[in-house]
Symmetry: D2
């Protein structure tokens, strides 16, 4: 079969590799029908994640069809259409039993396209298939739910739920890339009074408005602290969601929040930030960090089915099976191409 293979910083290739086989009795082999590329795939491509080694097949998001299952798989069957989630869960360790699958101690967590071969391939081996895949609801297309493999549960759990967005809140989302847009659209599920998008690019702020922000602040032009103060009676936002992953944007989030408010970090950080405890120690703030657990995936699937959530609107570009390299280029140059998320169909 063919797959996107990582060969060290800056080097990926769509090349022939061995088709995966069942290694453990809880594995499933899934034919990949639709797959996308994540910001963290770009990090790997750049060499930011040295634990990813030469020869690794990338990708941790897919919708596919089960080709075969191990003898220990109970609830997933050949022919089932499934969502392959970015998080793999052993289902029995302490953290899995708490729904904290991202911290799985039994061999799961974020492993696909990271510690084991991933989904940007014609076929993928999915460990712990019973607790790491979700049946595609009847009537749903691949694209209706593909974004539930990562960005939507990430933004919903780590941003909106950790941040405890509530009706009437003023919510600031710092960064309006795909994760920030996911946070904006999923924050809307809780009917906040205002969702404020903050970004340096007008194009992303424009997208933010289409995804549910009613106020947009270009923080290259306008002071977001002052702008937020003016719409919150000087107090600050109820919830600030960090969706960039830089010290400066995290520190901005901590300056935007009101006494008693929440800062929910979603961003992937590569270096420490400064925490201004000399100002924050009296301010009753709550800061959360988190890797997605995907415990919300069943809820998000229901919201797609019942029409509360339009998950396919993130898809801006489609590519044919052999166009992975073009797809990576398009996604990587989002500033020029306007790409939010790209979709490929490797198995056709």
């Amino acid at each position: 079969m063919k797959a996107v293979v990582y060969h060290g910083p800056g080097a990926i290739a769509w090349e022939e590799v061995a088709k995966p086989t069942i290694l453990a009795d809880t594995d499933a082999i899934v034919r990949v029908d639709s797959v996308t590329i994540c910001g963290s795939d770009l990090h790997i491509w750049k060499g930011d994640l040295p634990e990813v080694t030469d020869g690794r097949i990338l990708g941790h998001e897919a919708v596919g069809t089960v080709e075969s299952v191990g003898t220990g798989v109970k609830n997933v069957h050949r022919g089932d259409r499934v969502l392959v989630s970015c998080i793999t869960a052993c289902g029995t360790c302490r953290f899995c039993r708490e729904g904290r699958y991202g911290q799985c101690l039994g061999g799961g967590g974020w492993i696909l396209g990271h510690n084991i071969d991933g989904t940007q391939a014609e076929f993928v081996r999915v460990p712990f298939a019973d607790t790491s895949t979700y049946p595609v609801p009847s009537g749903a297309s691949d694209e209706d739910i593909l974004m539930l493999a990562d960005i939507l549960p990430t933004a919903y759990e780590v941003g909106v739920l950790n941040g405890t967005v509530r009706p009437g809140d003023v919510v600031a989302v710092v960064g309006a890339g795909p994760i920030g847009l996911s946070a904006i659209t999923s924050a809307r599920l809780y009917s906040p009074g205002h969702v404020v998008a903050i970004d340096l690019a007008y194009s992303r702020l424009e997208a933010a408005k289409q995804f549910g922000a009613d106020i947009a602040i270009n923080n290259g032009v306008e002071d977001p602290v002052a702008a937020i103060a003016s719409i919150t009676g000087g107090l600050g936002v109820d919830v600030a969601i960090e969706a960039v992953g830089l010290p400066a944007t995290f520190e901005l989030a901590t300056k935007l929040v009101r006494p008693g408010g929440h800062v929910a970090n979603i961003g992937v950080h590569g270096e420490p930030a400064t925490l201004h405890l000399e100002q924050l120690w009296t301010k009753d703030i709550t800061i959360t960090t988190g890797l997605v657990d995907t415990y919300s995936t069943p809820t998000l699937l229901k919201l797609v089915t019942s029409g509360q959530l339009d998950a396919k609107r993130f898809v801006t570009h489609h590519f044919a099976p052999d166009q992975f390299i073009e797809a990576y280029d398009t996604f990587r140059n989002a500033g020029e191409t306007g790409a939010l998320k790209v979709v490929l169909t490797p198995s056709r």
Copy 2:
């Protein structure tokens, strides 16, 4: 001044009475600009609440203008436009300090139009004015917020929040009168997957659909338990909200709910219900009761201002200052008149 005065079961009159004066230094005298009639006013009128005595001015919902305040009132000033809430809060007792104003031990609770004279008058004395009134947001009309005096916080707190409605939930609302419609519309703030209205009247079910129900069941015609089972994989609803106040509708709510689900009672009950513990003891259900506290009023005001909540859509009929008796007749005969809520302007 003139006021609606109760003279025993079946007897109310719009008649001349003494204008109220400040009795305690925390009182305010408010000119009533807009007022409505509540289902509980009809209960009083029928004689169901014997604690309401001859001579009592009715009414516990109003928007008005402050005419004068006692020397102990700090934050409310002559000329302020305020929402007069159905719940009066001393602000210092144990329950008020927990935000449980409906259970106030310091002389508050539901007293207006009940233990003391109420709002269906040209002027009303509001005790504990600092903690029992809310400033009208700039730009909001009386009608934009009048329903926040009672039915919306009641349905939101006692139905939606006590019931813990969450995104993706299936919510059943038993009874589609004004309180049931308020529950339906405020449940939508949490993006449930489905809101099922259950009522005996097609006209009310039709209204329910306009207020946010996507499924309507006439339980005089169709078995709601079977209908709910068919749309919930046999499990039942996540949240069942009782908005009628009869043993049969409460018992229905307990039959509709899934294992682990919530039954939130809003209905005003005059007799005991049967609780089928022989079936429910293993079912992990949570049943809540409650009088409104109005702790959510500031949130609801924000939601009206920011456009998440259309509170004035409940108003179906308007009456001139002297038409209180006609207004009561219209509201009481809602089946024929189609009245949801009526608005009067006694002070004009």
Copy 3:
């Protein structure tokens, strides 16, 4: 092997039966080292649970040693000492993924000694062994943890946690049998101000004091509502835990609770109760029911190990392997024998 076999109402026997074998690859066969008898075993013995059929081996609580496991069992190994819990969990269904194992939709729940053969035997087949057993902490004896198979997680989850006991609370426990005593002792983990035991028998009230109640009320002699009012400033208790299972005791619990308080039902009920909604509708109370889920078992094991919880104090009587019938008689006649919990060692 030998086992306690049910042969219809009033008829049980300790008799020779076939030793269990692995039926599914997720099964374990466990040698039963220590086992106890539950109040629900007495209900079965009396014929109250018609779903239990002739030939069924009873029992759903044990500590044992793993003899063999199916090929799909990952974390439990031959020779492991394990706690066999009253609740079996498939680990993958909707409810298991929420930790609501008692409602398992995948073939688990309370099945041992109920729908399949149980633990009052020399060996027991435990389905879904990975998610239905718990390793015995090093240094712990069988008796240290045997009560964690049922009564302690039941009282802790369904009574104390559902009732949300908090520091300083006044907690009433209605019924001071083994479950009530478990509720009393586990409520103490949250440092309530007072724990009030209510029972008709002075002997059980005496036991209640030893297990942590500081106030004891014999409700055959004293009016508990008045007694509670006098120690709570007329308001009622913060949490009332029902641990009997009769309409009268449930209704008593609802009369004891303060506005805003919780009624947590643990009792097994055979008939409906009356819910006085005409009084309770305004009182902001929360009523919960529940089957134990055993999600708290890991926590309770830690509390035994660290010395916060003395679980072996419930054991009043010990029996040799062949004395099951005597053990049942002793437990059944607790009023005379003073039995709380009995322990047998069938495998010796």
Copy 4:
């Protein structure tokens, strides 16, 4: 009257000043019967809080007797014995209505001995007396409850409740001064499995053991991260409470916590800390900061009365009315004097 007056960095005096008088109708004048000195008083004395100006009477903790009240005070009466809390609450602002009194927008918050004259005097003016004092329970001595004026609610709310300590948890408290000891003793209300005290001084670690720590780590000698790893299976503590106020101790707390755990900052910080987001972003941690609100004071008073909490054990030294300067010296040199908290009786 006499009072402790601040005259700039390093200069305080017990000197004659004017007796306070009622300035607002919600004020009370309280005769100070017992008073203590806080760590923040030492900060003021050193000049760390420039907002405190020359002439200010210090102190924000007292038990006293009401001498007179303004006309707007409803629930506090001449002759009442009251606890004067470190936090003053207007009772009507947005934050006070949420119980977040420390953030009071109506003129309260931490003002006593900070923005207005305080309690280290023979008499003190207490603004908003109805919502800023608590009646002394009958039978309680001044010393039984004096520590409820600040250190116990601070440690309980900002450390234990913000950190969500639960039964069975492993809790680390970094810093074993009076606030750390308060955190240790109030954490025990939730029955944690282990409470680990971490400090540089063996004398404080010894005190920590007496207040409820079962493990003591001298982090000048032993690596606390390794020590904690060894007792938590390599995962880290459930809750890390920072009770020092330095960048290094805060950063240590963030290294001690397990995935999914809580870091509760109580320490008063004068400079920023480094937040290692490059490690923490995936770790699902929650960090909280906070000024005490004193919403827990009624609960703590109940716990003292019912015997769950021994608050007077913090008092190591007593001083006569005129010995304030000696008392400050004793408290300031705690390393030599072994002082935890000192008590003075200025009004005798």
